[in-house]
Symmetry: C2
Subunit: 332 residues, 2 copies
């Protein structure tokens, strides 16, 4: 039975080499002057012994961390939000590229997790900065705490709070693109289906619709596939002439199309539908979704890069906007 293999530390390493820890530290970090000869000697030995600087000791003395937190809201328990997944992937890639790590944190409104858990996490030094996808009071809360604790942070999406860095994506313009499209393609009876929090999309939609906006029918409810499916029935009952609809997100649109199909309606023949977000699956769908591309991956990537710049003190830019674009496919 051998003794538990304690990991080698810089003291052990330097002792074996007959140099001081200071020299070893300098040789390894590359900071400070060391003769090329000893540097090589030390590095070689470190490599041979598999020495790794203990990250906690290092972070303690250097007062830093290599982790970035990514906060997002997961609405349906157990089901990932694809939009979020894509944004996260972008953030993740950008973070890794700069030798940092992404720490992901789902937050729910209801929640099992007490807010204290997040507060502590945000403020105890675990992270160097935070990316928070705005969605509700909880996310604003997080941003506030970060600001109070002098933790660099960036919001993805809009927020009422001011003074916070953010990357936004012109939801209103996105809605307008859809309205424009329907108006120009000669549709006459528009409807909007979405959640309660998508005021901007709807507002833009109405604008793009022009005079048609007066006839806009709204079905405001959830944001899930089931919601979309159910919505079709309600709309067709209340506004039977509806021939074009904008859904607040792609999954909702898929549900709506399903509802239409079940009722024997053809998309886009009888009714055209435009989704929102352009998640990957939108292109896979049948009919392939015409949708408003938000550039999900790029949003995450940008947020991470801006945040990292902020942390390194070489940026001060407050808002980065990434414009939407309409992707025409089959559903409209």
């Amino acid at each position: 039975m051998r003794k538990e293999h304690r990991k080698i530390n810089i003291k052990d390493l330097s002792r074996k080499l007959g140099v001081s820890v200071a020299t070893a530290s300098r040789a390894l970090s590359g900071k400070g002057r060391v003769s090329a000869e000893t540097r090589e000697k030390i590095r070689r030995k470190a490599d041979e012994l598999g020495y790794r600087a203990n990250i906690h000791a290092r972070n303690l003395i250097l007062r830093r961390s290599e982790n970035i937190a990514f906060f997002y809201t997961n609405i349906e328990k157990g089901k990932p939000d694809y939009f979020m997944s894509e944004v996260m992937l972008g953030a993740n890639d950008a973070t890794a590229k700069r030798n940092m790590h992404l720490l992901v944190n789902p937050i729910s409104n209801s929640d099992d997790q007490p807010m204290e858990f997040y507060t502590d996490f945000l403020l105890n030094g675990t992270i160097a900065g935070a990316i928070v996808v705005t969605a509700n009071k909880a996310s604003d809360n997080l941003l506030e705490i970060a600001a109070g604790g002098n933790i660099p942070s960036i919001a993805i999406g809009d927020t009422k709070m001011d003074g916070v860095h953010k990357v936004t994506f012109q939801l209103e313009k996105g809605g307008m693109l859809a309205g424009d499209y329907f108006r120009k393609s000669g549709r006459g009876n528009p409807a909007y289906v979405g959640g309660f929090m998508d005021g901007l999309k709807k507002k833009g939609f109405r604008k793009g619709l022009g005079q048609l906006g007066a006839k806009l029918f709204q079905d405001l409810g959830g944001a899930s596939f089931e919601d979309g499916k159910d919505s079709f029935g309600r709309i067709i009952a209340a506004a039977p002439k509806t021939d074009c609809v904008l859904c607040a997100n792609d999954v909702l649109a898929m549900g709506f199309i399903k509802g239409a199909a079940l009722a024997g309606f053809n998309v886009p023949g009888d009714i055209a539908v435009i989704g929102f977000d352009d998640i990957q699956a939108a292109a896979y769908h049948s009919p392939a979704l015409t949708t408003i591309r938000l550039h999900n991956y790029q949003i995450g990537e940008t947020a991470a890069n801006v945040l990292l710049d902020l942390i390194e003190g070489r940026s001060t830019r407050t808002e980065t906007v990434i414009g939407p674009v309409l992707i025409g496919r089959e559903s409209a």
Copy 2:
């Protein structure tokens, strides 16, 4: 201009209260005996001052970390793998529930990131354990490094390495379920489309097919939507009578269905297709995908829980298997 607000530490806190740091530490951690009175006094003050124990100092002395690494392979640059996203969500929820954080790490084969980056990360104390989704040499590599460094780890999926803890999901049985289904539903000319790494699925498929297995046509290539779309043409050219196909994953199946639709074929009328994984989007698709459910969320959840048990030393179980089940929907 005020001096940079240095964060308050336990020394400051105890000084203000006229107690020793030792007492403060005990009061805050709840370990060791402190009079109820002083404990309250200390806690109240800590709260008032917003004191938070520095995580690095704590982890240094305690030799631990509250982070779990999640390694996964992202095949298509910029596009999230939905299967992975769902597994990750499960892992994430389970981790958070136990007051730990998930550190996600995409790894590519080609890669910009040198292996050293991961090695260091794995061994320098950042993480308490690692979950790695097996896929290729890189993932085995990671598991090996973790094992060598005495870092608790768990594999999701199969691996040739032995002695590693893992959660597996009987891919062969999954394939068999599909074969069974086609055989029993009277189909006569099966095909399999998938990547090169899915030997087990194909093997099981053949088994389930029974005598039909002799006629099995294979189209082995990529795993993307485009691959599936292209595959249809190849299969119909080489084996025109094909009337049922198993695809190695759902997105591939969607692509295949798209290819079929473009060629005027009806699914499942002319050709039935079964997918694999049962990602959320499978249910949203038209036709909704009949597929092999792997229980993605549960896989991630289980892996995280087993790993955490391992870390806490209260488990020693080596393999956890989560069986697949066929979900019948519209495509077959």
